[in-house]
């Protein structure tokens, strides 16, 4: 009781935030019960009948299941492959630049796309890629080639998703690596040079070990988000024409739950995804701890 009085102010200012977390983060978790019901908007939360695991089995047996899983994992893996390595390469390249103003200018330009929304990025794509008057198609046409409907052709959507993601986030992703690089002790390079190490060997033996921890942490974060293929981006870029190659778990959940109002089924899929993500992030964290200090 004395504690409560002494810390009254702290508990008071903590309360609004705590209330937010309970109402907006934990109540929806209870709402997951919907996944085990056959939720009808008319009947509401309590009166809708129970459905057991039906929604989960229905999802996993659905014809769409493998399609959206494949889309989600493929897009994620491509993004991981290019989106993880590109910032490292950029940071290593910037690290070799001795002209300060040049380095700063390149950084300023490459950060820029990070701050615009996916809607705006899509606007840029329309300007460059739209079938009639997009820049690329005008150039194709002028050189006697067939125009390509980049934004609606299913074969083009995945490359576009991955490329635009790399374009938007590479400069930003390089920041953490640059910070780690600036923390490397210069005497290590000095010693390597005296031992006759070439530039390549210096990068391999001094630079890369210096950013190893950042690499591991970011890789873990990306791996544990493998089922998040990028909702904001794909919801913007997918359309009826290219959906077969772009429909991921999240976009499917949105359509199933809020457009077709199969609330229970969509919630079940949401849980399915959250649980896998949770297992991945906890597991990845354990693995990282075990390998820490042993990869190089």
């Amino acid at each position: 009781m004395r504690n409560l009085k002494k810390h009254r102010f702290m508990y008071m200012i903590l309360l609004p935030g705590l209330l937010y977390f309970v109402v907006y983060k934990y109540v929806p978790m209870l709402g997951l019960i919907i996944a085990f019901k056959d939720y009808k908007l008319m009947l509401g939360f309590w009166d809708s009948p129970w459905a057991g695991w039906h929604n989960f089995t229905q999802f996993m047996q659905g014809v769409y299941f493998w399609d959206i899983m494949a889309n989600t994992l493929l897009i994620s893996l491509y993004k991981l492959l290019f989106g993880f390595t590109a910032p490292i390469v950029l940071a290593l390249m910037l690290n070799e630049v001795r002209t300060e103003w040049f380095k700063r200018s390149v950084q300023t330009l490459t950060y820029l796309p990070h701050f615009v929304s996916w809607v705006i990025v899509y606007g840029l794509m329309v300007a460059l890629l739209s079938p009639g008057d997009g820049l690329v198609n005008q150039l194709l046409q002028a050189s006697g080639f067939q125009t390509i409907a980049f934004l609606t052709e299913p074969e083009w959507i995945r490359p576009l998703i991955v490329t635009s993601d790399v374009w938007k986030e590479t400069g930003w992703g390089a920041i953490l690596y640059l910070a780690a690089l600036s923390g490397i002790d210069p005497s290590l390079y000095e010693a390597a040079r005296i031992d006759g190490a070439s530039k390549g060997r210096q990068i391999w033996h001094v630079t890369l070990p210096g950013i190893r921890n950042v690499m591991i942490i970011l890789l873990i974060l990306k791996l544990s988000n493998i089922l998040d293929a990028g909702f904001d981006q794909i919801f913007m870029m997918a359309n009826v024409f290219n959906l077969e190659k772009a429909d991921i778990i999240d976009t499917w959940v949105y359509r199933e739950g809020l457009e077709r109002m199969n609330v229970s089924l969509a919630t079940a899929v949401g849980i399915f995804k959250s649980v896998i993500a949770f297992v991945l992030v906890v597991g990845a964290n354990k693995v990282a701890k075990r390998f820490d200090g042993q990869i190089w």
């Binding site: 810390h7 102010f9 702290m10 508990y11 200012i13 903590l14 609004p16 705590l18 937010y20 977390f21 309970v22 109402v23 907006y24 983060k25 109540v27 929806p28 978790m29 709402g31 997951l32 919907i34 950029l90 390249m93 490459t110 820029l112 796309p113 701050f115 615009v116 996916w118 809607v119 705006i120 606007g123 329309v126 300007a127 460059l128 079938p131 009639g132 008057d133 820049l135 005008q138 400069g171 920041i175 953490l176 910070a179 070439s198 942490i217 904001d232 919801f235 913007m236 359309n239 949105y254 739950g257 809020l258 609330v263 969509a266 919630t267 949401g270 995804k273 959250s274 993500a277 949770f278």
Partner: protein, 290 residues
């Protein structure tokens, strides 16, 4: 020795050139969109690809501001960005300050409650149903309340508060200052760097998010900027064919679309120098705490 240094010089040159190219690739789409938004339709017909227009027209900007509801959407987005960010900051700072006090009983479980939400969440549908149940649908509050506190930002601010020297706060209390006064007069002024940083995080989030507008808002009068922009852009599938061939208009439909893109991008560009400085700091602050 001289051959290696020659090779290294060459490598340096290639490196500079590649970096210059990377910078230009990031800049060029914006430049091209700017150019398209000002180019008269007649010039496109005459010259084909136009990178720098000989004449400029403001027709596209007039059209998009008058006929497409962009002015109204600006107000909605401005409101959610200003009021939303303000509320974000108040809620985040208050909770972070309490959680930064290591002597606070129950601090560890309270922190767990916050951190767990970063690992697991109820997902889209239950969150939507809750917002609906709370009666927030079709109000601007649906764009503000669901994202009131970001756990990530909360942890950053908490970490910053923990690093402040406790002695200053204690001596102020000895001098008779109340808790609120200490927070307001001593802690906040010392924390301006981190507050500016997460303020910008929140503001950019509000300016850029579009999906909550699609999910929670049906009333067209309440559409935020990004939703209106999205609708203008998605028209391309139906309208571009006519607009391209219609050369009687002063500017093509693509120009109108690009004027809308520019109007939504410019505010970000205006605050970009601040963004760049503080965001980089914020990312690093966040990483210190792991």
């Amino acid at each position: 020795m001289s051959t290696t240094s020659k090779r290294e010089k060459l490598l340096q040159g290639v490196n500079y050139a590649a970096l210059l190219l990377a910078g230009l690739i990031c800049l060029f789409p914006f430049f091209y969109v700017l150019s398209v938004s000002f180019t008269p339709a007649a010039e496109v017909v005459r010259r084909g690809v136009v990178l720098i227009p000989e004449q400029i027209t403001l027709y596209a900007y007039n059209q998009v501001l008058q006929g497409y509801g962009l002015g109204n959407a600006y107000q909605v987005t401005l409101f959610r960005t200003l009021v939303g960010t303000g509320l974000n900051l108040v809620f985040t700072i208050l909770m972070a300050y309490a959680l930064s006090k290591k002597s606070l009983p129950g601090r560890a479980p309270l922190l767990m409650i916050v951190i767990f939400t970063m690992l697991f969440n109820g997902g889209l549908i239950p969150t939507y149903l809750l917002t609906r149940y709370l009666g927030l649908l079709d109000t601007v509050w649906a764009l503000i309340v669901p994202g009131l506190i970001s756990a990530f930002n909360l942890i950053i601010v908490k970490g910053f508060f923990e690093q402040l020297p406790q002695e200053i706060e204690e001596s102020a209390k000895v001098d008779g200052a109340g808790d609120m006064r200490v927070l307001w007069r001593i802690v906040l002024p010392l924390s301006m760097p981190v507050i500016a940083t997460i303020g910008l995080f929140y503001a950019v989030f509000h300016w850029n998010s579009y999906f909550d507008g699609i999910m929670y808002i049906r009333d067209q009068q309440l559409y935020p900027l990004q939703v209106v922009l999205r609708n203008i852009l998605l028209n391309f599938q139906t309208q571009t064919a006519d607009a391209v061939s219609d050369t009687t208009l002063p500017a093509s439909f693509l120009s109108i679309q690009m004027a809308a893109v520019m109007l939504s991008t410019v505010p970000i560009l205006l605050v970009y120098p601040f963004l760049q400085r503080h965001f980089a700091k914020g990312v690093l602050l966040g990483s210190v705490k792991g």
